[in-house]
């Protein structure tokens, strides 16, 4: 079982449940840990909570998933209760994913969140599904991303901060560098891609209620691997590589590109909740086959 050192944490496995998947309640996240994940990330939340978009909001297509859940969440006060409940029953690290409609809201939600003592705060600046309400994501602008990173760091105290970026904007390597320069302890790469759209040809309308949504799943793996590869050349802080990982081979690509942890999201749809254990065993077999004993030995090897 390949364990992973990430910042100050020791994870029993290098996989982490990605934000937006099975991360609403303590019971759900506990189950994911029992299924073999090294850590979990909550669904993104803000101060007041949101209802999100009507359904259909999550839609499989032949090569992936299209989603526009619309940042539904019960608000920071409810999430704090669930985090406390999780921490009472689980030793594994919990990452809390936050968003704000304004830069100031990132600060407010961080201030309320710290009492729950998550092991990491993941800052979602790259959700592609709320443009009509929120405007262009902060993650598309180096200046806004810098300001969000600073304000979260200001209130996070000793809790480390990872900024979750999309593959768009002015270049993921450069954006990761901006995050590092403004105090981020890690970056999470990548959010969903697009947005994209699917149309029902019989009723001749977009299927998602939001019309457009972020693309995840196998279709985006190459974009995620390339993003991690690019950022690894620019920053020294660790990278959580997320996007389209459904097999151990996909996860190994991420590590070879430079990821320290592997985020698993849509992969749960493709492989079931057993995916965490499957990937863990596959990575272990790979290390053994090539005579490596730790993940550190293969991290970033694709660059040499």
């Amino acid at each position: 079982m390949p364990n992973a050192t990430f910042l100050h944490m020791e994870l029993a496995q290098p996989t982490v449940l990605a934000s937006g998947i099975l991360g609403l309640t303590a019971a759900s996240m506990k189950r994911v840990i029992e299924a073999g994940a090294g850590a979990v990330t909550t669904k993104s939340f803000n101060t007041e909570g949101r209802k999100g978009h009507p359904n259909p909001s999550i839609l499989p297509f032949r090569h992936g998933l299209l989603n526009a859940v619309g940042l539904s969440n019960p608000g920071v006060d409810e999430v704090v209760k669930e985090i406390r409940l999780f921490k009472k029953e689980c030793q594994a690290p919990l990452f809390a994913s936050i968003f704000g409609r304004t830069i100031e809201e990132y600060g407010e939600v961080t201030q309320k969140l710290v009492e729950a003592q998550p092991d990491l705060i993941e800052v979602n600046v790259s959700c592609p599904n709320v443009r009509s309400e929120f405007g262009t994501p902060f993650g598309d602008s180096p200046q806004d991303t810098a300001r969000v990173t600073e304000i979260v760091k200001k209130y996070a105290g000793n809790i480390p901060v990872s900024v979750k970026l999309g593959p768009h904007g002015p270049g993921v390597g450069r954006m990761a560098k901006v995050c590092e320069e403004h105090g981020a302890d890690a970056v999470t790469l990548i959010n969903t891609v697009g947005p994209g759209m699917l149309i029902d040809i019989d009723v001749r309308k977009p299927i998602l209620s939001n019309k457009t949504g972020g693309v995840s799943g196998p279709a985006i793996l190459p974009i995620a691997v390339k993003s991690v590869y690019e950022a690894y050349e620019q920053v020294r802080i660790p990278i959580i590589g997320t996007g389209g990982v459904t097999t151990a081979e996909d996860a190994i690509q991420m590590i070879l590109a430079g990821a320290t942890l592997i985020g698993i999201g849509s992969g749960v749809y493709y492989q079931g909740i057993e995916i965490f254990r499957k990937i863990d065993r596959g990575i272990e077999a790979y290390l053994e086959r090539y005579g490596f004993s730790t993940l550190d030995e293969i991290r970033g090897l694709a660059h040499e």
Partner: protein, 260 residues
Amino acid sequence: MSDLMKTYPILRIKEHGPGVKSFYFERMMDALPGQFVNVWLPGLDEKPFSVSALGDDWLEISIKAYGPFSNAMMRLQPGDRVGIRGPFGHGFSLHDDALLVGGGIGIAPLRLLAQRLAAENRRFVALLGAATAHELIFADDFKRWASGCFFTTDDGSYGQKGVVTQNLLSIIESEGIRFVYAAGPEIMFVKLKELFDPLDIPYEFTLERYMKCGIGICGQCVLDGSGARVCVEGPVFDREALKDVTELGLPHRDASGRRK
């Protein structure tokens, strides 16, 4: 079966009474009793519904007017297209000498179960309750297939006046019941659980929760206490699977994830 969205025209509609209708579609999938499909009304929303019956070439979904979605369904006409994908989830297991307990529109998933039990020549008894006579849908089917039928209505307009739980234990004893299936309001499950657990009677209940995806990833329908996903490990849960569930009978989480 398919998780992918596809729309189908409504072939015909049967009105059971005010605000209770069955919708018939081509038989685009097989479904086990207790499994559900996601129904999409373009421009409005998508919601889970159990399959109430399957014919050689048709599939039936039965809906009671309740909120904006089901009321919009009531206005549809044959030929209108709705999206249907599935089947999703884990259905009922099949047993002999069973009692089917249905409350209100909860009778719908039991209709497919009864059809299947009858096809396998398994003996069963039905105990069905509703607010009023016309909400006791499929009464004739149950009478045809079950070896015994008991009906209750809140207003006494059909069968005995009262609720299904009132004569339950005497029926179990007199009919030699060895397994109980239940579908309907969750408060009924709480009562049934209280009655059955001390008597060691095995059961399966079918649960409802707000869902976004139906495919086990959004986390919206995960049960507190057990961590089970209603859309994948459910919606049918047996006694063992319900043992650790701490939210039975509590208000459900809404779209934001907040428990009301």
